[in-house]
């Protein structure tokens, strides 16, 4: 959703409040940089998209401002037009900007070899190829065509999957059907616990 001028005025009123609260803790940490985020949120320099909070299932609406220059988020706040939260967010939702802009996110795919004592950086293509071989080996060497009663069950009892309620619907569905096509039956996730 791109925001038109009228909406933007409405949004910027809320943004002003959010900025007044200092984005909950900005300034509390010595690392905080003095960036003019209000200026960066001008529609000339940023785009506005709507999203939904990634934490609890109240499903609060968000407005995300992304810098057109860096393609990174400059602000995330409650969507004033969302009928459930009407612009409000709790402490977690109000911190989503820091989830994305976070130097604790690793910068590469990581691989730990058997018995190794550390991870090493690898490419995604290398990892996916190796995972695919692992899947095929575990599946093909142990595939259960028939159960102990001689009934056809066509399943893979040696690979399990856990996750995830943190995925989007389209991903959940894709993952769920993909795992079944591989023959997995040990498929579980957060809803079980």
């Amino acid at each position: 959703m791109h925001t038109n001028r009228r909406n933007f005025l409405k949004l910027s009123a809320t943004a002003a409040v959010a900025t007044a609260f200092g984005g909950l803790g900005l300034g509390c940490t010595p690392k905080a940089e003095a960036v003019d985020r209000a200026a960066a949120m001008d529609p000339k320099w940023s785009k506005q998209t709507t999203s939904i909070c990634c934490y609890c299932a109240v499903g609060c609406g968000l407005v995300v401002n992304t810098s057109l220059k860096t393609k990174r988020a400059v602000n995330v706040e409650g969507d004033p037009d969302h009928p459930i939260n009407e612009g409000a967010l709790c402490a977690k939702g109000a911190s989503i900007w820091q989830l994305a802009e976070n130097d604790r996110r690793p910068d590469s795919v990581l691989y730990r070899a058997p018995y190794a004592n550390k991870f090493k950086k690898v490419s995604l293509a290398w990892a996916l190829e190796k995972i695919a071989h692992n899947v095929k080996k575990a599946r093909d060497e142990n595939f259960t065509h028939l159960n102990s009663r001689g009934q056809a069950v066509n399943r893979c009892d040696t690979i399990a999957s856990l996750g995830s309620a943190a995925l989007d619907n389209e991903e959940c569905w894709a993952y769920s059907t993909m795992l079944r096509s591989l023959g997995l039956v040990y498929v579980e996730h957060q809803a079980r616990i």
């Binding site: 785009k47 998209t49 999203s51 609890c56 393609k71 995972i131 066509n154 399990a160």
Partner: protein, 799 residues
């Protein structure tokens, strides 16, 4: 939720039990507060005084795990004082059904119990049937075998004395609670329940909720605005992930996973397509064959569903004790699994009995961990007590985009499917999970194509390109496939639907492969009209506005119906029970319902309102559960007593547990009840929130909350480091000594309870502590397999 967040404002009495909504679902309180401002009463029942209690009109403390005593007592109170909503109970519930001769109950055990298998023969609890194959009924409710009389008899034992003795709740609180809540049994009053893991994480989790559902049916509170049975779901898309079958026992759309006994699609369909001989019963699941065929088609587009059914893996049994979480880890610990995907999940902190879970991971050949931050699961091999040089497991850590960096939808607790747009690009070229899935599956397909392999058809013929455009995962295309389209030209009721057009709603799905639909519940979400989940119109009729229904904002399953079972909100002639707050109304002139999307368009009185049940009635008596047709009181598997007043059966006789794992029952080494919970600033295992400075600054480390009395007993001062230990292990925590916990009087003995958040893990922050699940046992509910992490036994001592 049968209802939705905004609808809370329509309630007259909001019971929050098994939840701390103000802290864990904070924005829900916007709507709880709106109800309160209009005069509603808010009741909080919880072991600990929280911010929810502070906002409530009434707070009643209860010992963790004693809920069925209190709720059973409320059922008795409602029946003894004849506070039921009579017309509703008679017309819409199975109160008048006659229970068959084989049903019996004695001393905590129902008929059909097998001591060896620790399970019941459910057929013993069936209804008595008449000559037409329908349940026998007694509309006078006098027959001693009718459900209404059975309820009276079953809950006879749930006296105020007994409830008070075991729950630790005071008699004054119990009576006030019952009086206040039971007052919603009037036509124009609505009571609702907000519960969360405080009810589900018990060995009687399902029966906790069943007990409340019985209360809601007796009071006529289901299907109405401001009512319902509302599970507050804890993850942004745990509703959607469940809808799409990321669980061993269900495929997308709650279609049961096939069993070995089902050797053909016809056999499978027959097993899960219920039959009702009552023309008034919609018996919605009679459509099962349409949904199964459409799902198979969406997965294997080029095959006849009867053929592709063979591609689906089959289970040996549907029992939670065999395939669900706890047993998955038990089998992993015994070496059954070569590989594990931990995709968007941190089981090394979230599963019960953490030490066992982490040990089990060492038995794997390989582990794929997809997540935003490194975590205790992907890094288990270098965790506390691990020697990497002895651990063979190969680990792949794949970083992924965060939610604001990708496009797709999530379904909230109120079943609203809400579209999210991509804002920023992910750093370092990271990709959304969907892209990683697509690329991995593409790689696997290519490998089978190149090398061949065992039973390759399900993989090679899988409709992978149905998710992608130009070799890239496409959330829109996938969402359209989940909705489904016609696979050939089909004529329905005089209208021809061309091949390739989106199916408008699940009523048009077919059993012959002429439609595909990845999930029938989502059929209607992405139609020829477009992406319904992306709608942002706040337009409403005045009636809808009064309720806050917002039918044009996003989309909600099924078919945009905002409140489930809404035909129960009107009398059999179609008039709303509460004319002040009509949810649906029959327009006699247009012969149509107005308001919410009704549970089926039939005219008033043509169908019983509980359309998803076989006979069409709300189930006071529920013969389908693993542990009994009526909720019964049992102690948690770890408990501070060796008897309770309701029977000599101490524990749920069907609970999942492992005989070789000790449990603390009345064990002086572990004298205190323990429970786990969350804080506002952190989320689940804390993986996402512990890595954020702002949130860590607010809640930096593990703590254990205890009463002033317990602190005095153990000589502990507020803020000092203490050790909390159970049969399974120990954790350190900062002592938080408060007035929010008070000792309970249980059968004349003083029982202390303590609570710990389960947000921490050894990876980060440094000195933040470790998972509270180190303390929790591998025991679970027999229906769901959910572990009992809300009531267990611990000791607390100075470090």
């Amino acid at each position: 939720m049968t209802n939705h967040w905004i609808d809370l404002k329509n309630s007259d009495c909001i019971l929050i039990m098994g939840s701390n909504a103000a802290e864990n679902h904070p924005i829900s309180f916007k709507w709880v507060t709106k109800a309160q401002e209009k005069g509603a009463t808010v009741i909080h029942v919880d072991p600990r005084f929280t911010r929810t209690s502070a906002k409530a009109d009434m707070y009643a403390p209860i010992r963790s795990g004693a809920d069925i005593a209190v709720l059973g007592g409320m059922i008795k109170y409602i029946l003894d004082n004849d506070l039921i909503f009579k017309e509703y109970v008679l017309e819409y519930t199975n109160a008048s059904f006659i229970v068959g001769d084989k049903y019996a109950f004695d001393n905590g055990i129902f008929s059909g119990y097998n001591r060896e298998t620790r399970s019941y023969d459910l057929s013993q609890w069936a209804f008595a049937m008449d000559e037409n194959g329908n349940p026998k009924k007694d509309p006078t409710l006098q027959d001693p075998r009718c459900v209404y009389q059975m309820l009276r008899k079953h809950y006879e034992r749930y006296t105020l004395d007994n409830v008070e003795a075991i729950s630790g709740m005071t008699r004054a609180d119990i009576v006030k609670f019952y009086e206040t809540y039971a007052a919603t049994g009037k036509k124009d009053k609505a009571g609702t329940i907000m519960y969360a893991m405080g009810w589900t994480q018990h060995t009687v989790g399902v029966q906790n909720i069943r007990a409340m559902a019985i209360i809601q049916l007796l009071l006529g509170n289901i299907g109405i605005p401001g009512g319902g049975v509302n599970a507050l779901r804890g993850e942004a898309n745990v509703q959607g992930s469940t809808d799409h079958g990321l669980l061993y026992h269900i495929l997308p759309g709650y279609l049961a996973t096939p069993l070995a006994a089902h050797q053909s699609l016809a056999e499978y369909n027959k097993a899960f397509t219920p039959v009702s001989n009552d023309p008034m019963s919609a018996n919605w699941w009679q459509n099962f064959p349409k949904y199964s065929a459409s799902l198979l088609k969406s997965m294997w587009m080029d095959d006849d569903p009867a053929v592709s059914f063979n591609y689906l893996p089959k289970l040996d049994t549907a029992a939670a004790s065999v395939y669900s979480w706890l047993n998955l880890f038990d089998k992993m610990d015994k070496g059954q699994f070569k590989g594990l995907f931990a995709w968007g999940m941190n089981p090394a902190c979230s599963g019960a009995n953490t030490h066992k879970t982490r040990q089990a991971l060492t038995r794997l050949d390989w582990l794929v961990n997809v997540n935003i931050f490194p975590n205790e699961t992907g890094s288990f091999w270098e965790g506390p007590g691990m020697d990497p040089s002895k651990i063979k497991t190969e680990v792949f850590f794949l970083p992924c985009s965060v939610s604001i960096e990708k496009e797709g939808s999530v379904s909230n607790s109120g079943r609203w499917m809400q579209w999210r747009y991509q804002g920023p690009d992910a750093p370092h070229g990271f990709k959304p999970d969907g892209d990683l899935m697509y690329e991995l599956m593409h790689e696997i397909q290519a490998l089978y194509k190149k090398e061949g392999g065992v039973y390759p058809e399900p993989i090679l013929r899988f409709n992978l390109e149905g998710w992608a455009t130009n070799g890239i995962f496409d959330p829109h295309k996938t969402a359209k496939l989940i909705n489904g389209h016609f696979t050939r030209d089909v004529e329905i009721g005089g209208t021809v639907y061309k091949k390739g057009t989106q199916v408008p709603s699940f009523a048009m799905l077919q059993a012959d492969g002429s439609t595909c639909s990845g999930n029938w519940l989502y059929c209607n979400s992405y139609t020829e009209q477009g992406n319904m989940a992306a709608r942002r119109s706040l337009a409403q009729t005045p009636e809808q506005e009064k309720l806050g229904l917002f039918p044009n904002y996003t989309w909600c399953w099924p078919v945009n119906r905002r409140i489930l079972y809404n035909r129960a909100s009107v009398d059999p002639t179609g008039k709303p029970w509460n004319p002040e707050l009509p949810l649906i109304q029959w327009d006699a002139i247009t012969k149509k319902w107005v308001g919410d999307v009704p549970d089926g368009g039939w005219a008033p009185g043509e169908r019983h309102p509980f359309i998803m049940t076989r006979f069409g009635f709300g189930q006071l008596y529920g013969p389908g559960r693993a542990d009994g047709p009526l909720p019964e009181y049992y102690e948690p598997l770890e408990c501070p007593v060796n008897s309770h007043p309701f029977s000599t059966t101490l524990h749920n006789p069907t609970a999942i547990s492992y005989a070789d794992e000790d449990k603390a029952v009345c064990d002086p080494r572990y004298p205190f009840v323990g429970t786990t919970y969350r804080v506002t600033e952190h989320w689940q295992t804390g993986l996402m929130t512990r890595n954020q400075e702002w949130l860590v600054e607010m809640e930096p480390q593990m703590f254990v909350e205890m009463s002033e009395e317990l602190a005095a007993l153990r000589g502990i001062t507020n803020g000092e480091k203490v050790i909390v230990e159970s049969v399974r292990g120990s954790v350190w925590a900062k002592a938080m000594v408060t007035k929010r916990f008070k000792p309970f009087d249980v059968q004349g003995t003083v029982i202390h309870q303590v609570g710990l958040p389960w947000h921490y893990g050894w990876t980060w922050p440094k000195d933040g502590g470790d998972s509270a699940n180190i303390l929790t046992p591998s025991v679970g509910d027999p229906n769901t397999g959910i572990p009992e992490t809300k009531a267990f036994m611990v000791n607390v001592r100075k470090a």
